[in-house]
Symmetry: C2
Amino acid sequence: MLESIRKDLLHAKHLHALAACLLGLGALAQTPPPVLSAAESDPVKLGWMQGTPPPPDKVIRSTDANAFQFPRMRWSVAHMRELMPTVEVSRGLGPPSPLPNRPDPGIDSVRFTPWGANEPMTWEASLWKNYTDGILILHRGEVVYERYFGALKADGQHAVMSITKSFTGTLAAILVAEGVLDEHKPATAYVPELQGSAFADATVRQVMDMTTALRFSEDYADPKAEIWTFSAAGSPMPKPVEYNGPDGYYDYLRTVQKQGPHGDAFGYKTVNADALGWIIARATGKSVPALLSERIWSKLGMEQSAYYQVDALGTAFAGGGLNAGLRDLARFGELMRNGGQWHGRQVIPAQAVTDIAGGGSKEAFAKAGYPQLKGWSYRDMWWHTGNAHGAYTARGVYGQTIYIDPAAEMVLVRLASNPVAANGANDPWSLPAYAAVAAYLMGK
Amino acid sequence: MLESIRKDLLHAKHLHALAACLLGLGALAQTPPPVLSAAESDPVKLGWMQGTPPPPDKVIRSTDANAFQFPRMRWSVAHMRELMPTVEVSRGLGPPSPLPNRPDPGIDSVRFTPWGANEPMTWEASLWKNYTDGILILHRGEVVYERYFGALKADGQHAVMSITKSFTGTLAAILVAEGVLDEHKPATAYVPELQGSAFADATVRQVMDMTTALRFSEDYADPKAEIWTFSAAGSPMPKPVEYNGPDGYYDYLRTVQKQGPHGDAFGYKTVNADALGWIIARATGKSVPALLSERIWSKLGMEQSAYYQVDALGTAFAGGGLNAGLRDLARFGELMRNGGQWHGRQVIPAQAVTDIAGGGSKEAFAKAGYPQLKGWSYRDMWWHTGNAHGAYTARGVYGQTIYIDPAAEMVLVRLASNPVAANGANDPWSLPAYAAVAAYLMGK
C-alpha cells in the first residue's frame, strides 16, 4: 500500500519530507553531512521566500518535497503555518505578563569543553555550532540573555517538535494530580477504540513514561518502517485516490502492535504522545489545543498564541506539532521552575510539577541504550538529567530545548534547526554549555 | 484544461468549494434556498468537529468539497486556518489597548423596517435573520453592544472575505498619501510583469477604485468562468500532475484580459484587489501581511494577531483572505472614524482616511447597476453609502461589515455566515438596521 502511495502521488515525496518534520525526526539518516555552516545557511541571507513572488529557486512550497530539507528547513521551522493547516492555542485576550530584562554581557564568553573535545569553546560559539534560531535564559525570572538568528524573530513562532510531547505529558500530569485521570487504569478505560492495539493493556502511566513496548520504527532508511504509515495517516494533504490506510493520527494509533512486555524499558516512540493526547482529550472532553490554552497558555500572560499542525480531520499532532514563541516557552519554563506558581498564584498543581521534576525510573531508561545520557530518566514525557542540580528538560530533534536547572534558578530555552536531526548531534555542544552557564550564574 | 482538472482530481470538488470561499462569493448561485434558519444551523448545536475524533458525519475536512458549503460553512468561516495554510499578521508583543465597555440594553429593541417590507423588525431579530456570528457596536469609542453566536468567540478569528479588499485599499491610500505610491502611474510602473495583461494600461488609481475594465467572470454557474482558473491558480493544495495553468495569484493576474475601456465604470472584480496587493508589495518591498502588521495591526493594541490564507507560493490572498477577531476589526474602524488617530496619535495619514471617507465617483458606480445602492460609490476599495451621515463601509459576501457612521460617531462591525452569499441578501435587513441604531445613538 505504501509503495502505491509513493509511485502514484504528486506529493508522495512531500509526504515523506513532511513525515520527517511531523515526527520531529527531521531529514535524518539519509541526509548527507551538512556542508553549510549556521552562518552560511542563514535562511534570510539565502533569500528563501523573499520577493513578491520569490524567484523560482527561492520558493519554499507547501507541496514540495524539499520544504523540510536542509537548508530550506531553516526557513520552514519558523513558518510552519504557511505550509500546512494549523489550529490555534489561544493566549486569551488579556495583557502579556512582563519578563524583566537584565542582560548579562558576561554570558557570551562563558567557556565549556564539548563532550569528547580537548579544546574549550565559548557560549557564543556554541550557538553557531548548534544552528540556534533563538535563545533565551532566565535567571531568577529575569531575562539575562536573549538572541534571535535566521528566520526567527521575537514575535514569530518556531516548531518545537518533540518539546510538544512534554506539553502533552504536563497536561496529563496535571489531570492525574487533579484526579481527573487515573494513571493506573488501562488506556482503553479512556479510549475504548484502542482495544486491539498495543495500548490495550498499557496503563496510562506506562504511556506517560513511554515504557510501553511498541512495534514502531522511526527508521527513515527503512521503507517498511511504521513511521511512513503514521505519516501518511496524519498528512493534512488530500489522500491519494487508492489510499486505504488509517485516516488521521487517532485511526493510526489503533493499528499499533505490541513488541515485548510493557513496563519494563523506556522506549522513545512518538505515538505514545499521540495516544496520551487522545487519552487526555477523552478524559476532559476537550481537544489537546483547547486544553493547553485553558490550563497553561491563557494563564501566564503569553505574548503570542501558539499553534499545532493538524491532520486532515483537524486533530492536533500531540507528538510533535506545537509551534510557539521563544519568550512564551520561557514563561512556561519559569512556571515549572516555580513549582507551578506564576506570579505567586498556583496555576497548575504543585504535585504535577514535583512528579516531573523528580524524574522517572533510571533502570527503565538505561535499557533504552543512550550511551551519552548516563543516569538520565524519562517522566511525564520530560527528560531528567539526574545531575546534581536536578536539571530536567524538554527536547526537540533539531536541538530545541526547554532546560530547567532548579539549583541554578535558571530556565534556558533554545530554538534551533540543526541539519543533523538527532539529539546526539546537539548534546555534546549543548548540555555542557548549559551546565557552564548555570555554574556562571550561580557564581555571580 | 479546467475540465481535465475536474475529471482528474480527488480534490477537484474541493478546489471549487474552496474557490467560492477564497473569492468571498460563497456557495452562490447553485445553492438552493436555505432550509435551516440561523438558530437551526448553529454550528455548535449541529456538532461540527466536536469529539476526538468527531463522528464521521460531523467532520469538516480541509479536503472535502462541502467544507465551505452551508451549513458546514458556518463552522468553517470561524476556523479557516484549520483547513488551509495561512500567514500571520502579527499584533506585535505589546499590551492590548482598552475598549471601554458601556453596554446599552436599549439597542436590542430598536426597530426598523426592512427594505421592501411592511412590518418593522427589531435589531435583535435582524441578527438572526442575517446569520450573525459576531456583532460589536462602538459609540464614541465605547462598546455599547457586543454579542457572539455559533462558532465564533471573542478570542476567535473569522473570515472577513471581501473586507480584505478594504484593508488592501487602505494600505494603498496610506502609501499614496505618503508619496510612496503614485496613483497616476500605470500598474506596470510597479509590477512590470503585468505588461500584456489588462492591467498594463490601467493606472494605480483605476485599480484602487475598480474602474478597470476586465474580462473576469465570477459566475459560478459557468464552468468557463475565469473564477475557476483564478481559484485553481491560488489553491494551496498540490496541483494535479497535468496542470499547466497559472501558478499562484500573481501568475494568474498576468493572464487577465481587458474588456472595454478603463476609467469609465465601476466593475467589482476581486482580481483588482490582488493586483493592488502586488503593487503595494512591490512599492514597499514588503508582503501585504507584513505591511498590514507594520502599518496597522501592530499599532492599535490589537488583542489578537490576524491571518491571511495563502497560495502554494505563500502569497496572501489580498482580495479576500483575511481572518481577524471582532474586537480588533472594531479598533480598526475606530481608527478610521478618528481620521487615522488612535488614542490621540496619528497612526495613518489623515489624508488617506479623508480620501476613503469622501467616497468615489457616483457616476462610475451607477454604471455598475446595483439597484439597491442608489447614490453609492466605491473609493480605495471601500463602499460609500452617500447618505446624510457620510457612512462608508467594508463589505464581505456572507454579510460581514465594518460600517462607519461619522455623524452618529458609530462604528459597527458584524461577522456573519449567511447561506445566501450576496450582499443583496443581507442589505435589506442590515443597512436600515444600522441606520436605525445610528439614529437611536444620536438621540440619546
